[in-house]
Subunit: 469 residues, 2 copies
């Protein structure tokens, strides 16, 4: 922890569970965020922002006494004697925001929100007390068109981030709800869901055993009921097979029929909109958010990194802001697991190893030519190429070592003789090769040199998971 | 304030001094931020991020007892019994970050950092308790090249944001320091600066009166000394005139000579790098940061909105992180006043009045064609055009009213007959005109329609301040 040491210095440390983002992490994270924003915007989702601090009462409106999240909340009394807290997610502030402004905003309202949230959890590998959330939602409509669009956005997001090998798993809460209602078990839905959620960890028999347990914490189904429920959740096969089987078994139930129809429409529209076959998979086993979701639910898995869990999840809910307004605000949305994706991309070797956002370093070979170096830099920047000019006229070796360490792609080197001849040298750092080009052709020459250093095109790699950012 | 009202509802409110950003403000703010990031990156500044919460001891390392900032700091004891606080600027976290990581980062190190900071100030018009800072710095070098680049970055930032009518005022602390040292008044520099800082509010005579006051809170100069100091700070004319005058009067002093030489180099390199004549103005009256800066200082004014003060300010400092490390880290940097700029652009009418980030709304004329609408939307998005598909098949009038209210530019309307003919209708909302185009030509047709709605080009407007974002 922070402490004053003998020299009167304060030890520079972050708080436990918090982290800094140095350039090699901040650069790809920022690109992830900008890509996500661009995709959201391209679908007409508008950005909003809300304060980090809120009235404690607003934050805890839906928190049950003793709930974990209540203990994790950072709260305190401010200078004005107000009880305040740091937001622990972006959903609660969005509910407060919607209740406060929806009369001006109008419906339907589509927003995205990228922002940090804070939870005083016990830190563990990959979990931090401050992390970024990246949500998008459509509220004020019950139309299945919004549910369908949610799947299209998830598909567009993952592809824009460079992934091709992923699957969006989709389920509909009304399927299980309908089946349970048929059995006269509607009021036990929560307990059933809680057990079904363990399908990944327990096998079918284990789940059936828990569903039939007479322990009051469990659902207490009959063996036949439990088998029906597990049979539904364990269905596999093609999307059509699964939906046809559910229809044949439970299609007489109105909820089930509506759920199946909505999923069928989703698949049909997604195909027409160009989502590749196999990307969207009907998966009756996914539950998500035990109490909150009421219709379509979504989880997204990287096929080559499934063990990290869903990287984009969400669903449809009946009412966003019932604690703050009497206006019913149904909606549907999902959240991109930005930090989780970043970790996955790092593990898959998809992140460029660089600590500079600019690919070109202009060596300051001779201080008298600083104006020339800056003029060349301006020309390249105007052509869309990031350029750093080394700030000191140090030895060439020192500057090139710096260029290597930071991960620059090219170094431009020019001294008085070069300028006199109207030439500049381009050094391709990874290849340790150097060639002279005419100053008059600088931009196209640098573009060509950068192009030549790009890795092979994706289609030439047989087992590629994704293009690097 | 938040309160539970009679219906058991919690009143949805932000805290006093905090604000929400609805889309019409969040859209231009996000564009400002993205533009700033792109400019920083193009000069090789790398992003970093640090936590919102820090050890209180880290935050207050440089805060003198009783200082205003100490009272404004949001601090509390966390769940683990640690004294923590919300950062009140990005400089202190950068100092802590640099001290902690510089051995791995290496020098020179160039970073930018966009992030919110929190100060419990008395809220007043345009000032909030949570606001965005947008800093860039080069540390680990005393080279004037970094000072020069700082001016180039400010110029590039303002131009990228669409401003042409602005001025970067530059001064050098060594000018006044040298003059005061000549007079044997080096130790009174702070008091002199504090009075000179009032030159905007007081006239020369008022400033001279305060400089010569024998009140111990003032500098207590002789009348002749005060006149020399005010004479220096009040110099006007061309950059050359000012520097020549200073040189002639005080050039024998080494500090003054060095300051003048560095400013001359800055002007020469900036001109060579393409900064337009008149953009950079030597201004011996600017002080900035009474204790902190030691060399070049910068302030930036919008010529048509000078009253809002400097929109980008900074300077050179001798040592960033002396409270946390023995390693000396000299540097230079500046901070873009993002929220101030946003307010100025709003006042100057430079912000587009829109609550949608996508210019095109596809009307859901017939629910059976949802797949077609989404397919058209995908085509346009692939061409770089943002498109929203209305989620419900409501009456055309309702959907067009929504399009107008949100600020869409175009509405695309197509029903069964149109699809049968292979046509779609483009409605230009501001002009209330509509024309049919072939589905096969959709992208170029929409591009042309968007182009036709753009305002006149800047060069056709005589008194324009800036292009809209």
């Amino acid at each position: 922890m922070a402490a004053t040491n003998e020299g009167g210095l304060i030890t520079p440390n972050t708080l436990k569970g918090f982290r800094d983002y140095p350039p090699e992490l901040a650069i790809p994270r920022e690109r992830l965020m900008e890509t996500a924003r661009a995709v959201y915007r391209s679908f007409g989702f508008a950005p909003i922002d809300t304060p980090a601090l809120e009235y404690l009462e607003v934050l805890t409106a839906n928190v049950e006494p003793g709930a974990e999240i209540g203990k994790q909340l950072y709260s305190f009394t401010d200078q004005g004697g107000r009880e305040v807290g740091l937001r622990f997610d972006l959903t609660v502030p969005f509910a407060r925001f919607a209740a406060q402004h929806i009369h001006k905003l109008g419906i339907p309202f589509k927003r995205y929100h990228l922002g940090c949230v804070w939870r005083g959890e016990s830190p563990q590998a990959g979990r931090y007390r401050e992390f970024m959330q990246c949500d998008f939602d459509t509220i004020g409509t019950t139309s299945n068109a919004a549910d369908i669009e949610t799947a299209l956005v998830i598909n567009a997001l993952l592809r824009a981030l460079g992934f091709t090998r992923f699957a969006i798993h989709i389920n509909h809460r009304q399927l299980l709800n309908g089946v349970l209602a048929e059995m006269g078990l509607a009021e036990r839905a929560k307990l059933v869901l809680r057990t079904l959620d363990k399908l990944g960890k327990l096998d079918d028999a284990g789940v059936i055993a828990e569903l039939t347990s007479t322990d009051p914490r469990h659902a207490g189904l009959s063996r036949e009921q439990a088998e029906q429920v597990v049979g539904l959740a364990s269905l596999s096969g093609s999307n059509d097979d699964i939906l046809n089987t559910i229809s044949a078994r439970h299609g007489a139930n109105e909820s089930v029929a509506r759920g199946v129809a909505q999923l069928r429409e989703l698949l049909a529209v997604a195909a027409e909109a160009g989502v590749p076959e196999g990307t969207i998979r009907i998966d009756p086993s996914i539950c998500r958010g035990l109490d909150y979701y009421t219709g379509t639910v979504y989880e997204t898995f990287l096929l080559d990194k499934r063990e990290i869990g869903s990287v984009c999840s969400g669903g449809r809910y009946d009412n966003l802001a019932g604690r703050y307004t009497k206006q019913s605000l149904p909606g549907v949305g999902a959240s991109l697991g930005l930090d989780r994706l970043l970790a996955a991309m790092e593990a898959l070797g998809l992140l460029p190893k660089t600590a500079t956002p600019a690919p070109v370093l202009i060596v300051q070979f001779d201080a008298a030519y600083l104006g020339q170096y800056q003029r060349l830099a301006s020309q390249l920047r105007a052509g869309g190429i990031g350029v750093e000019v080394y700030p000191e006229p140090r030895k060439l070796g020192v500057q090139l070592k710096y260029a290597d360490a930071r991960g620059f792609t090219l170094a431009l080197i020019a001294g008085p003789d070069d300028f006199a001849r109207g030439m500049v040298n381009i050094k391709v750092l990874a290849q340790q090769t150097q060639h002279a080009v005419a100053l008059a052709d600088l931009l196209p020459s640098v573009q060509a040199a950068l192009q030549s250093t790009r890795p092979d095109q994706p289609q030439e790699r047989s087992h590629e998971t994704a293009k690097p950012l």
